[in-house]
Amino acid sequence: MASRKEVTPAAIGVLAGYAELTLAPDREEVIHATLEAWIKDANELSRKMSAEKYRDLIPATVFSHAVDTEEGG
């Protein structure tokens, strides 16, 4: 039995359902390996960025209202 941490084709089917994305029958298998690898790396980055020393960092996409400064918005 797969552990809850594993990204299985069946789990992909569930995720697609949450996103209201209808996947053709073979699609879970096609994207499985890549998605699993990307989620593993993304979780590692999330752990790193959750460290106390980075608590005050804000995402790069936040509005800066700096359009008239040297570096722009």
């Binding site: 992909i12 995720l15 697609a16 996103a19 209201e20 994305l21 209808t22 996947l23 053709a24 699609r27 096609v30 994207i31 890549t34 998605l35 690898a37 990307w38 989620i39 790396d41 993304a42 979780n43 590692e44 980055l45 999330s46 790193k48 960025m49 959750s50 980075y54 960092l57 804000i58 995402p59 790069a60 996409t61 359009v67 008239d68 400064t69 040297e70 570096e71 722009g72 918005g73």
Partner: protein, 473 residues
Amino acid sequence: MDKAAAELLELSLAQAARLVKSREISPVDLVGASLDRIKAVDKRLSAYITVFEDEARKVAKAAETMIMAGHDLGPLHGIPIALKDNLAVKGFRTTAGSKVLKDWIPDHDATVTERLRRAGSIFVGKLNMHEFAWGGTSDNPHYGAVRNPWHTERFPAGSSGGSGVAVAARMCYGAIGTDTGGSIRLPSAINGVVGIRPTYGRVSNYGIIPLAWSMDTAGPMTRTVEDCAIMFNAIAGHDPKDASTSRAPVVDYADALNRGVKGLRIGVVPGYFFHHLQPPVRDAVKGGLKTLEGLGAEVVDVNIENIHGNISAQLTIEAAEPSTYHQRWLREQPENYGADVRSLLEIGEMLLATHYLQAQRYRTLLRQEFLEAFKKVDVFICPTLPFTATKVGAMKVVIENGVEEDMLSAIMQFTGVPSLTGLPSLNVPCGFDPDGLPVGMQIIGRPFDEAFLFRIGAAFQSATDFHKRAPDL
């Protein structure tokens, strides 16, 4: 092709522009030579999706009449230019390399299109690309796999593969590419041409089909650094139609090209910049650094503590943002996407919002570290990518020890850093591997310091001849 036309094609953009201005050559001859070259070689390369044969000839005739009457439209008067097919051109099909947009005819120009037109460019066609710019091979299932002019069984990289090939194969004097995770710099390196990813917000994205809004940029690809600076002069600057563009002042980007690199401090990140590379790439880029040292520059080791992790951040953002843009089409017509892009768009729907936002927080961290490091050095130089051109259709690449790696992650090893930090970066050809395939080096600069990157690139090209070599087609 006759000798005179072949000689015209070997002129740089800057040389051609000077000769048009002095009325020694005609835009009609320049456009004719480019169109003849496209006819002669593009069946083998698939760099163009659409060629504007009749339109370009008509505009060239008008450009000739105007220059003979003393009316100079600008620094690109009469110069044949080609555009990646994700830039809108009013009244002409713009596909973004996709079947989804196969019949889309925009009713407006992209700002870059409009500014090049205003500077006197003549558009000879729209260039093939990785579908919707989401990938680095330009192996396009709808309009043909783009092929490398240095070896037609090898790939041209991407996503602006057609742009790199068209410039290297002398099918135009300059091209526009777009760059989210490396899509200007990668095909520039792999095809042996110059290409700049501008500072984020320096060039307008209005009228360009987006890939990932928070990282998208557009920039020129040419054979020489001087040509690149001339094209950049035409397109850089604030655009009221694109809120992400900056009001930071523009300068004459071709003005400082001859000032040299004496005293330049070049940063190298130990354990990252020359790690995990094919040996010919390492040798060529180290040779490039030696050349710059010989011109008076100094190489300094600078640690960037959190540089590892950049590829995951890049992939997460590049997955989530396109999947948002494509959400409706992916549900209505998934069969109209190529297999790889369809998979990437599906994957992007399944990453968590927290993954995306942690990646965006990582960007802030990485940018802060680079801005701090720029107190010690003026630029960073590294390889543009860790390998030379692989076979067309390859999805895996071997970099070292015979281990096969996923192409998409491997190709972003170095280009992801400027994409995430918003910093400008310039690819300059710096050598060839034993198979005669080009190698490029990436010069990364401070925000809005593109003029300085052009100055370094021009100094390098004044001391080397890699940019003067032509593929044998």
